[in-house]
């Protein structure tokens, strides 16, 4: 019950950005380099990711805002029982900001050299020993075993696919990477300036994104 409730709350949080995005877009004529107007609930792209603290295999969907500089994604990841006490489902809400796009030649290739982002995720797993339940007096452990906050820095290569119709803008397919960490690793790193380097607390994820 607790798990499913939390999952729905996360889903709600991520979806609630949709209507604002639609309002913002309808107030101005859509620039020609953005995707066509569509109902708010239709995601702009789909995602598949490997690792990065968000699951062994992760799939999701999201929205591109601010001329695709900002992406908001909702992801569901899976880690099999082999690597855990019981299998883990990881539900992630993620924001990625990419200030620059550098075209590479005339064949539709482009590099987005910098991506900065953050995420919050909830791990659902029956075997996970909770830190915030009634086994403990209030405040016994300050962190949650289920919720994680993460930050990351990365980049991507994008390729513009041929248009389905001449009037439509070209959809992009892209490959990205994310070097990241989470608040527990960062706290460990911060309090051990001699022993731990940023690489010690780093994680890496790679993924693909496809515009719809």
């Amino acid at each position: 019950m607790r798990y499913s409730l939390s999952c729905w709350v996360l889903l709600g949080c991520a979806l609630s950005v949709g209507p604002h995005a639609a309002v913002a877009q309808s107030a101005f004529p859509a620039p020609s380099d953005t995707l066509p107007h569509r109902p708010w609930y239709v995601p702009h792209h789909v995602v598949g990711q490997f690792a990065g603290g968000q699951g062994l295999a992760t799939i999701g969907a999201g929205y591109g805002l601010n001329r695709n500089r900002l992406e908001l994604d909702l992801l569901a990841g899976y880690v099999p029982r082999k690597y855990s006490i019981t299998a883990m489902g990881i539900f992630t809400a993620k924001a990625t900001y990419m200030p620059w796009t550098v075209p590479l030649g005339h064949h539709g290739w482009a590099v987005r050299p910098l991506a900065l982002g953050g995420f919050v995720n909830y791990t659902a797993s029956r075997g996970l020993n909770a830190t915030w339940d009634d086994k403990y007096p209030a405040g016994y452990y300050w962190w949650s075993a289920h919720f994680r906050l993460g930050v990351f820095m990365g980049g991507r290569i994008a390729y513009a696919l041929p248009s389905r119709r001449p009037t439509h803008p070209r959809r992009q397919a892209s490959v990205y990477y994310e070097f990241g960490s989470n608040e527990l690793y960062l706290v460990s790193w911060w309090s051990n300036p001699r022993a731990l380097s940023l690489l010690d607390v780093a994680t890496l994820g790679i993924g693909v994104k496809l515009d719809l």
Partner: protein
């Protein structure tokens, strides 16, 4: 059409970045590809450390050379990696130490990566080290992470005529289910004393602590009290050193320093009940 950045410069820089990222990834192996901080995957070098350290210990003759045994006792390495490095340097200068006993809370958040960070320091000890599980090591997937990196939660070993009994006493982590510590197991280990001169019990939470399962306090303490060869009971959890006899038994309980206190205890035991205790600052 001209772009703001010359094509070749962009490509060169981009390939430079890619190469450095690729090199980083290759150098650190695939370790960085983490599915979840709670996953328990870890390379072979970080598995079954209890068993590996016991093998290493048994291969070493007792450095004291006679009936006596000397070992170092400390606990709660959780998130004190800087201190762990200083600890290792200090212990490596101690003469005649057979091994290091760590009284639990190896990790702070029950994460496998934390256990690896601790081992990365303690593996530089000149002597083997042995651990018992602490409450923080049981958080999230910590139980399985500890089992994978170290080994069983309850185990015992005999060295230099001394039976060490390491037992999980973190009752609160199991919701005080009446089964932790496993008193029957402890009793059986203590009863098996014919071949040994003396016994030592090491656990994380001491029986008088609020995190010990109240319903098991009396039977557990009775089991310890009924063991004539038991020298003392060692525990961590409290982060401050102390030695006391909290029960109507002739049995000292020793609370260890945590790593952050930059002190540890050197215990030398002989005969059946004889021991000397020194504290060392590092």
């Amino acid at each position: 059409m001209r772009y703001a950045y010359p094509m070749q410069a962009v490509l060169a820089r981009w390939f430079g970045w890619s190469a450095s990222i690729a090199a980083t990834v290759l150098l650190t192996g695939c370790d960085l590809f983490e599915f979840s901080p709670n996953e328990i995957r870890t390379p072979e070098a970080y598995r079954d450390l209890t068993s590996k350290n016991l093998t290493a210990l048994q291969a070493r003759p007792n450095p004291w050379g006679d009936d006596s045994l000397r070992f170092v006792f400390i606990s709660d390495s959780q998130r004190f990696y800087d201190e762990a490095e200083a600890f290792v340097e200090s212990v490596n200068q101690q003469p005649n130490v057979a091994f290091v006993a760590v009284g639990g809370d190896i990790s702070d958040f029950g994460l496998v990566r934390e256990m690896r960070w601790v081992h990365d320091r303690l593996k530089d000890l000149n002597v083997p080290y042995l651990t018992v599980i602490g409450n923080h090591d049981l958080v999230a997937n910590g139980r399985k992470a500890y089992q994978q990196v170290y080994g069983p939660l309850n185990y015992s070993f005999t060295y230099a005529g001394t039976r060490f009994i390491c037992v999980d006493t973190n009752g609160r982590e199991y919701g005080f289910n009446g089964r932790v510590p496993d008193v029957d197991w402890v009793r059986a280990q203590l009863a098996d004393s014919a071949e040994v001169q003396r016994q030592v019990v090491m656990s994380h939470v001491p029986p008088m602590d609020n995190d010990f399962d109240r319903q098991l306090e009396v039977p557990y303490v009775q089991a310890l009290g009924d063991a004539p060869k038991l020298v003392f009971a060692l525990n961590g959890h409290r982060h401050s050193f102390g030695i006391s006899q909290p029960y109507e038994l002739n049995l000292p309980f020793i609370d260890s320093y945590s790593f952050e206190k930059r002190q540890y205890v050197v215990l030398t035991i002989w005969g059946t009940k004889g021991f000397r205790l020194n504290t060392v600052r590092y």
